[in-house]
């Protein structure tokens, strides 16, 4: 590792209230279940389809935007844990 420069990866905080893929997928699943249940009027079915399309688009968008943020944990003397940035090159420091 000598002479190799360590690059620090910026630690990105996850925005609060961020839409989750899980929720979007569940919404899409609900729509399909309702449609396949066959109890909806044509009007309701179309409205559900439209919201299903929205959920569908959101799913693809979230899959596209997904990212992995890596942090390192350091033990503190009081028995707690604090976070520190994790340098990507650390894992190669064998």
């Amino acid at each position: 590792m000598a002479g190799k420069q360590k690059e620090q990866e910026p630690v990105k905080k996850q925005p609060e209230g961020r839409q989750s893929f899980e929720d979007a997928l569940k919404k899409l699943e609900d729509v399909v279940r309702e449609l396949e249940g066959g109890d909806l009027s044509l009007d309701d079915a179309l409205a559900r389809c439209e919201s299903g399309m929205e959920a569908c688009k959101l799913c693809y968008k979230l899959l596209e935007e997904a990212e992995v943020r890596v942090k390192k944990l350091i033990e503190s003397d009081d028995g707690g844990i604090r976070e520190e940035p994790f340098a990507e090159t650390e894992g190669e420091d064998f």
Partner: protein, 416 residues
């Protein structure tokens, strides 16, 4: 005994030296301890006693003789397996003489089970012990969340295993916060550190969705911390689901048994914890085409109704309404991707038969059976209550074939 001034009686004097008990014993001790300073002894353990002090006392025996043996606390503490009565062992040590009692014994510094390795035996013993306690029972296992957002990895910060895990996690494409908890994963003292890390994560970061505990491949000795009781117990006690990923496929550790999910390798652990982007994409695709099929089904049904109504000269208004729907359906359909339209095409035959079945249930078929629909002539509104058509109202009645125009007579319930 007669006092003879420290000398033996005359008749016993020969070449033999005269020694006190202490002197003789000291010589025996010197002889034995010199001659048997390093010796391997093979025998069967009996009269086994784990003393409170930590020292272990036992007898080694074969079919013709027996030998007292002791294993001091410091040696016993390093022993990985548990001695058992009847166990065949190879014991290494030196003979020591305990002068006050005139006894000799083997002071054991190393001991190995006969027939299998010490580590292998230790593994088997701990496995049986924890299994008997119910530590590995399926009912104790916690499920992994399907979509984890935050996971921790307890492993060496410098191992190739961590690099591999991070690579996999990134390629899987989940949206994920990964927290690396660096610990030493081999050598004496590693096990308590690993156990402490698991406990600390439970205490300080209970919101974690899962944790991976593991390390890359190595010798059985290298992997040993993951076969230690303290680590197994910490894993079993964790409220955060634990995935173990230790060594290569062929390596199975006690930690694997204690974990909620066992992965064959650290890389596999990373893959198990996170859903796969491609897999998720397929799932969304599948839902989208099912939605598309439903839409298409509705579309066909609506079109058939429009066609049928148009054919039969229905009043314009409901027709417009349905056409509006059809337009909306068309609009939604064009927003679906090409792949879905392809699947729609493939399902065309099925859709046609479904549409035909739907048609059989439509109101138009009901008219065929002799029923009719009456509407107000000016608005086209369907009359459901006689009060909607007071005397003098112009009404139209649709029957199976064509329609009848009429004016309401001032009689019956019309004026109610």
């Amino acid at each position: 005994m007669r006092d003879s001034g420290g000398r033996p009686p005359e008749e016993l004097i020969g070449d033999a030296p005269l020694l006190s008990v202490s002197q003789l014993t000291a010589q025996i001790r010197k002889q034995l301890e010199n001659q048997f300073a390093d010796v391997w002894v093979v025998g069967e353990i009996s009269n086994l006693k784990y003393h409170q002090s930590g020292h272990v006392y036992f007898t080694l025996k074969d079919n013709a003789a027996q030998l007292s043996a002791v294993m001091w606390r410091t040696v016993a503490a390093r022993l990985r397996f548990t001695l058992e009565h009847g166990m065949e062992v190879f014991a290494f040590g030196r003979i020591t003489v305990y002068e006050p009692q005139g006894k000799y014994q083997l002071s054991v510094s190393r001991i190995m089970p006969k027939g299998m390795g010490a580590l292998q035996l230790a593994f088997t013993q701990l496995l049986e012990k924890l299994r008997a306690e119910g530590l590995f029972e399926a009912a104790r296992k916690k499920p992994l969340p399907e979509f984890p957002r935050r996971i921790a990895i307890v492993t060496s910060p410098t191992g190739a295993a961590l690099r591999d895990m991070l690579r996999i996690l990134k390629s899987r494409g989940a949206d994920l916060d990964v927290f690396i908890y660096p610990v030493r994963v081999q050598g004496d003292g590693a096990a308590p550190l690993i156990a402490a890390a698991i406990e600390r994560l439970n205490k300080n970061m209970p919101e974690l969705d899962a944790m991976i505990v593991g390390r890359g491949g190595g010798s059985l000795e290298d992997l040993w911390p993951f076969n230690e009781e303290i680590v197994a117990r910490a894993i079993a006690a964790s409220r955060i689901p634990v995935v173990s990923g230790v060594g290569h496929e062929i390596d199975v550790t006690i930690s694997d048994y204690a974990a909620d999910v066992r992965a064959a390798t650290p890389t596999e652990a990373a893959a198990i914890v996170t859903p796969d982007r491609i897999e998720l994409g397929r799932r969304v695709d599948n839902l989208r085409s099912r939605m598309g099929r439903q839409l298409s089904w509705r579309l066909e049904a609506a079109r058939q109704r429009v066609d049928a109504l148009a054919e039969r000269g229905v009043s314009q208004r409901p027709l417009e309404m349905i056409q509006r729907h059809v337009q909306r359906v068309d609009d939604l359909e064009t927003r679906l991707s090409g792949s879905i339209r392809l699947s729609l095409k493939q399902n065309r035959a099925k859709l046609d038969s479904l549409a035909a079945r739907l048609d059989a249930l439509s109101p138009l078929r009901i008219l065929d059976r002799g029923y009719s629909i009456t509407t107000l002539a000016d608005t086209g509104k369907v009359i459901r209550d006689a009060s909607e058509a007071p005397a003098g109202t112009l009404i139209r009645t649709r029957v199976s074939s064509g329609q009848i125009s009429s004016r309401v007579e001032p009689s019956g319930d019309g004026g109610k």
